[in-house]
Symmetry: C2
Subunit: 733 residues, 2 copies
């Protein structure tokens, strides 16, 4: 480690706002109550696909307490509400604004809509088959003709990746494996449903309180949706009760703003859990056919794959780039489609696309290892990217980050060294991610009594502000308790990018460090002045500046700050505005140990080891929390979660009773292993840590189940029903 003297960074500092959060004292978006505030509720389409013949809002408008009802007629030229075609169950038709939320809900039920129901598709593989009904009337379709001459349907996007000579590699391979995988729409299930409150200020500007991962993204999206100036909107982000990528964009913010503008009163919108399910932004599911080839020495020589991404009504996504993963493979032929389905447009969910691709890839790798008679771990290590390979940004990878992480996970899990009982199995899987970076900022100042304030526009997710406080404390040599980190709204700070993409601590931590260094330099300069010493002769420590070698000759930080406040140069201010920073990939490896009850199909997770290449753990406790949380979500993805649609395209499990998420009883303690090899960039060598841990869990589960009972269920979640069915099919063979 290059920074041996760190005292605050690297400590297991408890999340500074943790006590408030767990005791319910934190102010969330729904805690905003304004005088005269109205409540709005949305009328959603009950059909997955239908045209609207007529809408009658007259009964709703006469309900006492209803203040306003608006439909697409009132929101011309904006996509806020649908006018003619309902495209998914949950599509927005009308908004009712009332004195209280119950009246608004009653108003919604009084709106009469005459629908003509149309055929729908909710599965991407089926939706793209020739003859599938159009998901959107009059939507363009990519012109994809299959070898048999048939034409694919509902294709919004296509991408491909071709490397080397796949045909030749497959022909020359010692082993080839192939399978088809399916993954479902996967909901982020943040604890806090979306909520926002909009107020029109006296001067016409909008103040919008909301739960979001980036206030500027919300501001700009609302401005775009309502054709307003960005400068006329102030977004105040509240503490966020979970986002996981979903809260990168707007949900009903533009509707709330429009309702406030129409009524002249503050308007709150709170989504119900049911609305979150049928009108949310879940992760896309997909259909994948993947074929992998290898040589006896363990070299993976080729992959060939086709992906049908479930793009909901947007048909967006369609990326191929997460399928190859962190392996050096010479020959590849990949094709991906963004397929439209009658579902809401999917959104981001931790490491978007990567867990889905890991399921296919890591399963194929296990099949290949078995066929070649090579240990799964060894196969991965042999083909792992490392020095000699380039990172996705094109920079050489400087360290054996992946191999070391594979080894760390294997060591912790006693890979190959622990005898398992009958029906028990172990599975390994790996994933890679490249954390992003983006515009962010930090502004540090010091009060006349030595208290330190750090302002940032970066929304706190998973303890970011605690880590920023640690960094500021580190650079200014003060106890972390002296530092208050506050979140600036869009009127207070320069443009700040999303807290997403594993970049919050990476980027805003860098800003905090740079601003801290700048503030420290000012402190040292002023301290030297007050001590009548040369700047070269003073140092900082223990909330003092003192003459090097003469600790008795010192001046308090408080005195320095107070002096600055009255000086000609003015108060101390450490400023940092950061743009994009070079970043490197990071790696996550899970080893799952399961026991299968072949009669019931129940899978018990006995042990889960989650190792992650983190560069440097700025706060090991918070990093471990990230790793644990991601691993649990990924395991649940493999075993429990996933949205279910019926034949009419309606969500079958739009609540947390039917949509199963793991409880503490469903997962063992996660054994986290942090691999700390500094990244060339990032504060103190840290890498982004938020997304990698969610990637390999489901795949590791799949491999462990095969290891336990010899069947490979290739559609997740691997529910007891699916596993029993697979076991019976195997028996029947």
């Amino acid at each position: 480690m290059s920074e041996e003297t760190l005292t605050t960074v690297g400590q297991r500092t408890g999340r500074l706002n943790g006590p408030d959060i767990v005791t319910g004292r934190t102010t969330y978006a729904d805690d905003i109550h304004l005088p005269g505030m109205l409540h709005a509720r949305v009328l959603h389409s009950p059909h997955a696909h239908a045209t609207i013949k007529s809408i009658d809002t007259s009964k709703a408008l006469t309900l006492p307490g209803v203040v306003d009802v608006f439909t697409a007629r009132d929101t011309k030229d904006t996509p806020l509400l649908v006018a003619k075609e309902c495209r998914y169950q949950g599509d927005r038709i009308a908004v009712v604004v009332a004195e209280d939320p119950d009246i608004a809900e009653d108003g919604v039920e009084l709106i009469e809509v005459d629908y003509k129901v149309l055929p729908s598709s909710t599965e991407p593989f089926e939706a793209m088959q020739p003859g599938a009904p159009p998901v959107l009337l009059d939507a363009p379709c990519e012109d994809i003709v299959e070898p048999d001459g048939s034409k694919l349907q509902n294709i919004a996007a296509r991408s491909e990746h071709i490397d080397g000579d796949v045909e030749k590699a497959f022909a020359e391979a010692d082993a080839v494996v192939e399978a088809t995988y399916r993954t479902p729409f996967w909901h982020q299930t943040y604890m806090e449903p979306n909520s926002c409150t909009a107020r029109v200020e006296p001067d016409g500007r909008i103040t919008l309180w909301t739960s979001c991962q980036g206030s500027f993204n919300i501001r700009d999206a609302v401005a775009g949706a309502l054709k307003m100036s960005e400068g006329d909107i102030r977004v105040i982000p509240l503490e966020m009760g979970g986002g996981f990528g979903a809260k990168n964009g707007t949900f009903v913010e533009p509707h709330a703003v429009l309702a406030a503008q129409r009524t002249g009163r503050p308007v709150k919108m709170l989504m119900t859990r049911e609305e979150e399910f049928f009108d949310g932004r879940p992760a896309p599911g997909c259909w994948v056919r993947l074929k992998t080839a290898g040589k006896k020495d363990g070299t993976i020589t080729a992959v060939e794959g086709r992906i049908a991404w479930d793009g909901g009504i947007s048909g967006r996504s369609g990326a191929v780039n997460r399928l190859i993963g962190p392996y050096a493979i010479a020959n590849a032929k990949l094709e991906a489609f963004g397929v439209r389905t009658n579902k809401p447009a999917p959104g981001a969910f931790r490491a978007p696309g990567a867990p889905q691709m890991a399921v296919a890839r890591e399963s194929n790798l296990d099949m290949l290892a078995e066929k070649l008679g090579i240990d799964s771990l060894e196969l991965r290590k042999k083909n792992a990217v490392g020095p000699g390979n380039l990172s996705p940004t094109g920079a050489p990878i400087p360290e054996e980050w992946l191999k070391n992480t594979l080894d760390a996970a294997a060591d912790e899990a006693k890979w190959g060294k622990k005898k398992l009982k009958k029906n028990q199995g172990k599975g390994i899987a790996a994933g890679d991610w490249r954390n992003g970076s983006g515009a962010t900022n930090a502004f540090i100042t010091i009060a006349g009594d030595g208290s330190v304030t750090c302002l940032t526009g970066q929304v706190d997710i998973t303890g970011l502000h605690t880590v920023m406080a640690q960094i500021v404390a580190e650079e200014l040599h003060v106890p972390v308790e002296k530092v208050t980190v506050t979140l600036g709204d869009t009127d207070k700070v320069p443009y700040t990018s999303l807290s997403a993409g594993s970049k919050a601590a990476y980027s805003a931590g860098t800003a905090a460090k740079k601003a801290g260094i700048s503030a420290r330099e000012q402190v040292l300069k002023l301290g030297a002045q007050l001590l009548e010493a040369s700047e070269d002769d003073v140092e900082i420590g223990d909330e003092k500046v003192f003459v090097f070698g003469s600790p008795d000759k010192n001046v308090d930080l408080a005195e320095i700050a107070d002096y600055a406040n009255g000086s000609a140069t003015g108060p101390i201010l450490g400023t940092s505005v950061v743009g994009s920073i070079p970043s490197y990939p990071s790696y996550a490896v899970n080893v799952a140990t399961v026991e299968v009850d072949p009669d019931t199909g129940r899978v018990e997770l006995l042990e889960l080891v989650a190792a992650q290449d983190v560069g440097r753990a700025l706060n090991p406790m918070l990093v471990e929390g990230q790793v644990e949380g991601g691993a649990v979500q990924s395991v649940a993805y493999g075993l429990m979660e996933g949205m279910v649609y019926d034949k009419e395209g309606r969500v079958g499990n739009p609540n947390l009773l039917d949509y199963a998420i793991p409880t503490i009883g469903d997962v063992p303690e996660v054994k986290t292993v942090l691999v700390e090899q500094e990244s060339p960039h990032g504060p103190y060598g840290a890498k982004g840590v938020g997304e990698p841990p969610i990637i390999p869990g489901a795949a590791a589960i799949m491999n462990a189940i095969y290891n336990a009972v010899g069947v490979r269920v290739t559609e997740i979640p691997i529910t007891p029903e699916r596993l029993v069915k697979a076991l019976k099919e195997k028996e029947a063979e």
Copy 2:
């Protein structure tokens, strides 16, 4: 003018928040309503001086709705409440906290206090006489022995200023005049009574909403009063409904914070108008004896003066330095006392101390001019400071600022050129002020659609934020409507000094200009990059950067800002932290024309010319507003205003019915004349403009009345009663 190309600065831009203010839509401190909020009211001493024998709060505590009652017993070691000695009518004894303000008031009335009433003094001249009762028991007294051997009482401070040889100058003078003047406690009568609301946050930090002239001063004062860390308090300043210097410090903020801490609920305190009068921070009154000598050629050769400042219980002030004023006088002997009286400690009020001293000085000068047979204007011009003299900071005065302002006022008033009717008179008076400077800041950023935001910690008084928007617009070459100036609370910005001392636009305008230049430089640099041009070849204008000479080759400001947001260098941010800036004196001259009804003593103000040396009017409409407002206050000081105390030391006029402030019927249109000769410092050559206009008005009125009817009333306000009495005395002579 050195800046010929100004387009936005110097325009008569309407105050951007003006429409909100005049239509009542602005959020003031009392508009803060928090869930669960309690209301607190103070029990004030009914006596000017008394000791407390006992306090019984038991009845108050049993009143339903009363949540808490606290007294000095509960606020140990803080000066929040008095324990033993009530020092003025209004001194704070107990706080009652209740569910609504009426219950709190009822609770106050249920507190039983047993007082021992003591003798009191409320006039400084009387309070300092030998034998006067002690204002504070056991307070120290300066040891001042009069020539007759008697010892002055209740003196808290003394200062003197001696220059040259006064005795000799008086002996050699061609004329000597002398008079004694009295001025009363003078209330700022801001429209908005003080209000604040305190909340204890989940983490124990305090949020305090208040009406103030400087959020950091409030924060630090509350921290000091309650022995808290400054970092544990966040002060959110609201739009201020008038301050005039009074709101530089705390009123009941520490009490509200303590009440919130004790009850765990938000607590609001709102002062009534009556409380504002008997527990406010009015300007101090004074007693002045002044003697001035001159030579036939019009040279003022000597002044000798003694001032007894009414320091209330603090006895503070006691300055001599405002008495000489803007004249070069070789010999001076001045002595001032800070005298304690049984009144609240006075506070600041526009140009503190200067209007009081102008009354004495400018009256003496008129007497001297008459005695020497010289025109009053000429006397002032002959002795006016200018090139050859030093400013109060010791820098040479570069221009004939005062002479030019005297001439400008005289020209507008047709001094000496207009025949007046019987009982009409004209009076002139001048004053000087040196605007301050202090820590301030501005942070400018640009949204992706070209909207501009400027954050500052400088509280808006009298249109500061509008002027900052003009400056930002000027520097960025955008329309002023594109700029939003927002006020940052104490968590958001570095230490920011008070909006007081005529320094807000002087200092924060400088910060806005510097930050604007910095932002512009970034815009030009990025614009050049996008245009693939050299930075030297591009210029900015009309919300675009274009290639010099090729206006078609251009890129929008919005595009540049949007590009910056995603760039490696990051968003555009123009930052400026300003400390102290050199400043220069500025001058105000009033010419009043009055008509006196000798039977009733009623004085009608026929015309008021107010000329002011402003450096540059950043916004002439707002500057004129300042000049008009100050002149009207000063005139009212001369004719109407002033707190009255009865023999028991109780305020006789603690309301706006009995304490007369001028209405639109009391003053004619003020003829403002702005003298614009750039100051070497200050944005675009501007000087501070807020305080000078209040200085000379009362003195000008006094001189005009003498000019009209030949009597010189030397105690203000010159009420009809006083004037009739003086006229009768003159008749009797």
